[in-house]
């Protein structure tokens, strides 16, 4: 009985895994094929040729794009961690009138879709002259209601006595934040960091709006360029680009999976 249950469970899991993984596997597979093989509908390449990978770097400045994506994602990650943790600290450890109201106001901005604020944001960036620069690509994302919420929930589990003990010891507020709160909340910070890095890495619309030179564009736009540069897309090359672009994502996910799960469910109970 138990065995039968286990077999059926694993069968379902395997099927789901195949459905989920197939597109990625197919993209990986296509990245080694030439045009004829792709059109022939083959599942596996006849040979493992790296021609497509060499070609993709020649066609678009993929290295520049990768660098841009990496730098903007890192900046956004750092910015979001700093702003969110400071905001969350204020919401948990500093008493002020209307604190809860302000917090709910803050949280309620999560209900406004990003696209709705895109136009005003774009006009601001444009009038500041930040188009085609890292500033324009990163600054609008620094304040993140979700991040503040996530960290606030974790900070709330930190005993208030730690704050009081450091007050008695004469440690300044910022030092307490830096030397106690941040190290104690490491897992939540890592979760948020990975989340914001990946979100930014996969961003398409905003970089498309605020950049129009090759030197400032990011990978997601590069991928789009690969598809539309010629009348018939060379899918082998496109997929080679895709594989290169999703590599950092996968690496980050594998490295941080445990932390990510732990952090996202943290504070859910209690």
């Amino acid at each position: 009985m138990i065995l039968a249950k286990r077999i059926s469970l694993y069968t379902v899991l395997v099927i789901c895994a195949i459905i989920m993984m197939f597109p990625i596997f197919y993209a990986f597979s296509i990245s080694f094929m030439d045009g004829g093989e792709v059109m022939g509908g083959q599942l596996l390449p006849s040979s493992l040729s790296l021609d497509n990978y060499l070609e993709v770097f020649k066609k678009v400045p993929l290295l520049t794009y990768l660098l841009n994506s990496f730098v903007t994602s890192a900046i956004v990650m750092g910015g979001q961690l700093l702003v969110s943790s400071l905001a969350a600290f204020a919401f948990v450890f500093i008493k002020f009138k209307g604190r809860d109201f302000v917090f709910f106001l803050f949280i309620s901005t999560m209900m406004i879709p990003w696209e709705a604020t895109m136009v005003p944001n774009f006009m601001t960036i444009q009038s500041l002259g930040w188009t085609n620069s890292y500033l324009g690509l990163t600054i609008p994302f620094f304040a993140l209601a979700f991040g503040t919420f996530l960290l606030r929930q974790h900070f709330k589990t930190i005993p208030q006595e730690l704050y009081e003990a450091s007050q008695v010891a004469g440690i300044s507020r910022f030092r307490f934040f830096w030397n106690v709160i941040l190290p104690v909340s490491r897992s939540s910070l890592i979760t948020l960091g990975i989340y914001s890095f990946l979100t930014n890495w996969n961003m398409y619309l905003w970089p498309l709006l605020v950049t129009n030179t090759e030197s400032a564009r990011t990978v997601q736009i590069g991928l789009k360029q690969l598809q539309t540069q010629e009348i018939a897309s060379d899918w082998g090359i496109v997929m080679a680009g895709v594989v290169i672009v999703i590599l950092p994502t996968l690496l980050l996910l594998f490295a941080g999976q445990k932390k990510l799960q732990k952090g996202l469910t943290q504070g859910a109970i209690k």
Partner: protein, 374 residues
């Protein structure tokens, strides 16, 4: 020399109802003072007001004669031990102990020296590199103590520091804390809900009830002369028997079958008709049948080894009395036994406000000594 003075201290959270009513108190240098009361009586609030973690609504706080109402906690020159120890989980024991010392401009060598000294005193020397989660409850408690000691602050506040420990460890830490306090000569304000802790540790103590100071004094004075029924039943374990009685110049009527001679000997003023009589369990004695004040029915016996607690009723089944006798006594439920009340240890309380009207002893502990000799 007066170290800490509270003058008319009040606390209110909503501006209407005071959770702390008018607390006046003067603490001498080097005194071990205990604030004791049931949970929710406001003892921690007073401590937190002294520490500066809670704003003072009204009244004044003086430390060494200087008004400290608005000084931030670190300017009040005190250390504090919290109930849950408040250790920093990511720092090891040594870092925990020295955390914050740098703000007092103490050199690294001096920090190290003080840390080792405190660790030695508390038997933590071999755990200095461990994280708090690798320590037992008692060891964490000691780290929290060490952290208070290294600051060398002349005033130390403790908020129920022993309540998370098991009974055995608690007894040991009680005496350890007391010894350290004596050795360092610091003034200590200690909050607890445990009357045993208060009795055994305090030089003086204050009993609090619903934000009001019930009585301030030395433990034995309070034990022997409780100011009211609340103090009488709060201090001492098992609690003092407090029962209703009718008092007339001729005697105290406890029940239709039990009348005690009036021990007040002509003190008519206190002999109002409706009073409550209070007598500690150790002052209800086993008696020869012909000398007995009453024959009572046993409801329960608890043999503790060195002593026996006997719960009994006189006539009213709702009023259960407790007697404490030395030695091991075996009674069955329903047994009828003769008892005698020690008239030299009776307290009379007003029925209206619970205040002490009259006490047989004059607050000297000779009563207890006499008991032992009998």
């Amino acid at each position: 020399m007066t170290h800490v003075e509270l003058a008319g201290l009040k606390k209110s959270y909503d501006g209407k109802k005071n959770v702390i009513e008018q607390v006046d108190l003067q603490l001498q240098q080097g005194e071990f003072f205990v604030l004791v009361g049931p949970s929710g009586c406001g003892k921690s609030t007073i401590l937190r007001m002294i520490a500066g973690l809670e704003p003072i609504t009204d009244g004044e706080l003086f430390v060494n004669g200087k008004r400290m109402n608005d000084a931030p906690p670190n300017k009040r020159d005190l250390s504090m031990v919290f109930q849950n120890y408040a250790l920093y989980p990511h720092l090891n024991v040594e870092q925990n102990i020295t955390f914050g010392l740098h703000t007092k401009k103490i050199s690294r060598e001096e920090q190290k020296r003080r840390c080792l000294e405190a660790a030695d005193m508390l038997g933590l020397a071999e755990y200095l590199k461990r994280k708090p989660r690798e320590l037992s409850g008692g060891q964490r408690q000691r780290v929290a103590l060490a952290r208070a000691i290294v600051t060398q602050a002349p005033l130390c506040l403790m908020d129920e520091p022993l309540s998370n420990l098991d009974a055995k460890l608690r007894t040991r830490m009680r005496s350890e804390i007391r010894q350290i306090q004596r050795k360092l000569g610091i003034t200590m304000i200690y909050v607890t809900h445990d009357q045993t802790e208060a009795m055994t540790m305090a030089d003086r103590m204050m009993i609090l009830h619903e934000g009001e100071a019930m009585q301030i004094g030395k433990p034995l004075d309070i034990y022997n002369q409780p100011a009211n029924t609340f103090v009488a039943s709060f201090i001492g374990s098992p609690a003092m028997n407090v029962m209703e009685a009718d008092v007339s110049p001729s005697g105290i009527v406890l029940s239709p079958h039990c009348t005690l001679p009036n021990p007040m000997k002509g003190n008519v003023k206190a002999a109002s008709k409706n009073v409550q009589i209070g007598i500690r369990p150790e002052h209800i004695l086993f008696s020869a049948p012909e000398q007995a004040d009453a024959v009572v029915e046993v409801v329960n016996t608890e043999v503790l080894g060195t002593e026996t607690l006997i719960t009994f009723i006189l006539d009213n089944a709702k009023e259960q009395w407790i007697a404490r006798w030395n030695g091991q006594w075996q009674f069955s439920v329903g047994d009828r036994i003769p008892i005698r009340f020690d008239l030299d240890a009776i307290h009379l309380f007003s029925k209206d406000n619970g205040r002490l009207l009259w006490a047989a002893n004059d607050g000297q502990p000779n009563q207890t000594a006499k008991e032992v000799l009998r």
